[in-house]
């Protein structure tokens, strides 16, 4: 049994029976959800961003009313909702969590409050996509770890692109980086339907159910939630909410009533450490992408950084200002935002980069600012007399730089630059937001299906270390071999 499972048992035992009472005395039902890209489930009201709205906010409110408490939403990234529930961050999950064997292996789930289907969305002029089979051989964007993601993976033959949210998939569909996207119908209804550039392709397929997630030990709470949902179906409250949000179709009520509970499969927790042979190759594939991106972007950073440093130190005034501005802007804004701007923002200006190009450019441009400062410090650490001696011998400023100052500066900057390389190596995990599936992303995807955050985490960390440690050894070696003040 892995450590994580052990911790889970302890937590579950500790919370047995007490949660319902605790919740009632507190007066709040704390429900976990992710409001980022969360329309129409839970999202900030565009007219008043301080206020959260969405059909699940209204369901939470209605549930609370039946249970005799008020509701309070706890923000948590969607990927991590199940493990956060285990940790006790909130009482229930109410956020489009599908009733699947995987989830039931980990937590208990209520009877469904919504029957969803999958919907294919394509560009208006796309005629080739009629059903899920016709997606084979096409580039299809899906939300990471979603039902659509798993469906397409199981079907095979689809070039799957993984996105952090469904807003991004729709945007990239219009950018023509993907041919289609598959998403839960409520999302499609909210994001794609109103967009004149997009249309639904084929009929909804693959019926599934959203249920409220509850810790396995909280049996009493689960019973109460089940009862409350039954009440909301019976008294038409759910129908009212779904109609308001455009989510009601004739099938909904029938499906909710005819739902047959999936048998609890028992604990499905996988010890990935014991079956490392199965998981390691997947992680290593991600590691290859990480290494590729790191080396390419570091090459960009080191080259551009040198130009920026020279521009800042020796350029004419406009070059000096521009270099300084570049360094300050790229250092002073988050890498994540820069990646978003380059990948999702630039297409607005007609520049469409592949995700690899965007990743290399984003990391490279960002780190160039840091490398420029390293070079600048390195060049300034070389005594003035070196430049003057070279000039007095009749060398040009450029010759003096190239032959005298830079070779000495390089040795000074190797430690900070190799330090930055290791930092970049780890920062490269951020490029998963622009659909690159690198090491950390592979870890995240495997962890959300196996729930073995511990075992996979150790494996992933070991791979990172196994790659970065030789890099720092190599840097030490180079630094030593460039030493010239040996006595």
């Amino acid at each position: 049994m892995s450590l994580a499972a052990f911790a889970l048992v302890v937590l579950a035992a500790g919370s047995f029976g007490g949660v319902l009472e605790e919740m009632k005395s507190r007066g709040f039902l704390r429900w976990g959800a992710d409001a980022e890209g969360g329309a129409p489930y839970v999202f900030p009201d565009p007219k008043n961003p301080k206020l959260l709205i969405g059909f699940e906010v209204e369901i939470a409110d209605a549930l609370g009313e039946v249970l005799g408490v008020r509701e309070e939403m706890v923000q948590n990234s969607w990927d991590g909702l199940v493990s956060a529930l285990d940790r006790g961050s909130f009482d229930v999950i109410l956020n489009g969590l599908e009733i699947t064997p995987e989830h039931l292996g980990q937590i208990a789930m209520s009877r469904p409050y919504y029957a969803y289907t999958q919907q294919i969305v394509v560009l208006n002029d796309e005629e080739g996509v009629r059903n899920v089979e016709s997606l084979k051989g096409k580039r299809v964007g899906v939300l990471s770890a979603s039902v659509a993601h798993r469906l397409l993976e199981k079907m095979g033959g689809v070039d799957i692109r993984i996105y952090p949210g469904n807003v991004e998939t729709c945007k990239d569909l219009k950018n023509k980086r993907i041919d289609a996207t598959v998403m839960d119908l409520p999302i499609a209804t909210h994001y794609a339907k109103p967009d004149p550039a997009l249309k639904f392709a084929g009929k909804p397929f693959a019926v599934g159910y959203y249920g409220v997630g509850v810790r396995k030990g909280d049996k009493e709470l689960l019973r109460e939630v089940d009862k409350a949902i039954g009440r909301l179906i019976a008294n038409g409250e759910l129908k009212r909410i779904y109609k308001k949000w455009g989510l009601w179709d004739g099938e909904q009520e029938r499906r909710l009533r005819e739902y047959k509970p999936v048998a609890d499969p028992g604990s499905q927790k996988v010890s990935t450490l014991r079956e490392w042979r199965q998981y390691l190759p997947l992680l290593l594939k991600g590691a290859v992408v990480t290494v590729e991106i790191s080396f390419m972007s570091m090459a960009v950073a080191v080259g551009l950084g040198l130009l920026l440093a020279l521009g800042r130190l020796f350029g004419v005034a406009p070059v000096r200002w521009a270099s300084t501005a570049y360094v300050e802007v790229f250092r002073g804004t988050p890498l994540l935002i820069q990646l978003y701007l380059i990948y999702y923002g630039l297409p607005n200006l007609g520049i469409r980069l592949s995700s690899l190009a965007a990743a290399v450019l984003g990391l490279g441009l960002n780190y160039a600012a840091y490398e420029a400062e390293n070079y600048r410090a390195g060049i300034q650490a070389i005594p003035r007399g070196q430049m003057e001696a070279a000039l007095s011998l009749g060398m040009t400023r450029w010759q003096a730089l190239r032959r005298i100052v830079l070779p000495q500066a390089v040795r000074v900057v190797i430690p900070p630059i190799s330090n930055d390389f290791i930092a970049l190596f780890k920062d490269s995990s951020l490029v998963s937001v622009i659909t690159m599936v690198e090491l950390t992303k592979v870890y995240g995807m495997l962890a959300t299906t196996t729930y073995d955050y511990m075992g996979l985490g150790l494996m992933t960390a070991a791979i990172y270390f196994a790659l970065s440690y030789p890099a720092s050894l190599a840097a030490n070696y180079v630094e030593r071999s460039l030493t010239y003040d040996h006595r």
């Binding site: 070196q386 000039l391 011998l393 009749g394």
Partner: protein, 284 residues
């Protein structure tokens, strides 16, 4: 060979050179003395174009450079490079390139500036190292050499460009006394071979033996100049007298009974002759 006309140079609001004019003939050895901050180093740096100046004119051989502020034209730059390649400069702190061996230091400029072949440059470089008495140190890095050896390599490096003029900026003042002599001997030999030399130094024995002319500078002006012997024995200006007293205290400090003598004691002759490190007898 060197002409300086009415040179004025300020750093911020401090005027460092206050209208200096100087004419130095081919083969002439001129020694500049003066209190620290008097502008003698700045004068050398202006001649070598390491500093710009506010007004006046510098001419070395047939290359003239005018005062210039701000951006240099392409023409100015070319003239500056040409001038520097004809003027060798030796720095107080040697400024050898630490990532290169002695011979690499020497061949660097001939190869990059004059585009000599490596074999040509090395051959000439080894000759120069032999001239400064360091041929066996060709493959040593600067950090492996003593200060005196480094300065001699630096002189060989400057000579490798075959300059018409050599500027020395306090070449021995960073050295321990026992290491100065090797450097001074190299300079003596250069002077006797007819090199045009402009030297900032406090080594009065060198000045006495080698200088054709001694120039005393104070507050950015030439106070007094003439043959070294005359200036030291019969300085006309009080400022020169006072300065010479401060610069040549060695014999006096070792005065009788170990007591430092009052500055008014002793004649300039005493000081002057006492300054000779090799203990030569009074002449005349």
């Amino acid at each position: 060979m060197i002409t300086v006309e009415n040179l004025v140079k300020s750093f911020r609001h401090q005027r460092v050179l206050n209208g200096i004019s100087l004419e130095q003939g081919k083969g002439e050895v001129v020694v500049l003395i003066g209190p620290s901050g008097c502008g003698k180093t700045t004068l050398l740096r202006c001649i070598n174009q390491l500093e710009t100046f506010d007004s006046g004119r510098v001419k070395v051989g047939d290359i003239a450079v005018e005062a210039c502020r701000g951006h240099l034209s392409k023409d100015d730059r070319a003239r500056q490079l040409l001038l520097r390649s004809r003027v060798g400069m030796v720095f107080q702190s040697f400024n050898l390139f630490p990532h290169m061996t002695a011979i690499e230091n020497i061949i660097e400029a001939p190869m990059t500036v004059k585009e000599w072949t490596q074999s040509q440059a090395v051959k000439r470089g080894l000759d120069l190292l032999a001239k400064v008495g360091l041929e066996e140190k060709a493959d040593f890095y600067p950090a492996q050499l003593s200060g005196g050896q480094q300065q001699r390599v630096a002189i060989a490096r400057a000579l490798a460009m075959e300059p018409e003029v050599m500027l020395f900026d306090e070449p021995t003042s960073a050295l321990d006394p026992e290491l100065k002599e090797d450097v001074l001997n190299v300079m003596r030999r250069l002077a006797s071979e007819g090199m045009t030399m402009l030297v900032v130094t406090h080594e009065m024995a060198f000045a006495r033996d080698m200088a054709d002319r001694l120039i005393f500078i104070e507050a950015g002006r030439i106070v007094e100049q003439g043959p070294a012997d005359v200036i030291c024995r019969q300085p006309k200006h009080d400022r020169t007298k006072e300065f010479l007293k401060t610069i040549l205290p060695r014999k006096s400090l070792k005065g009788a009974n170990g007591k430092p003598p009052h500055p008014s004691q002793g004649t300039f002759d005493d000081v002057w002759d006492g300054g000779a490190p090799d203990g030569e007898q009074k002449d005349g």
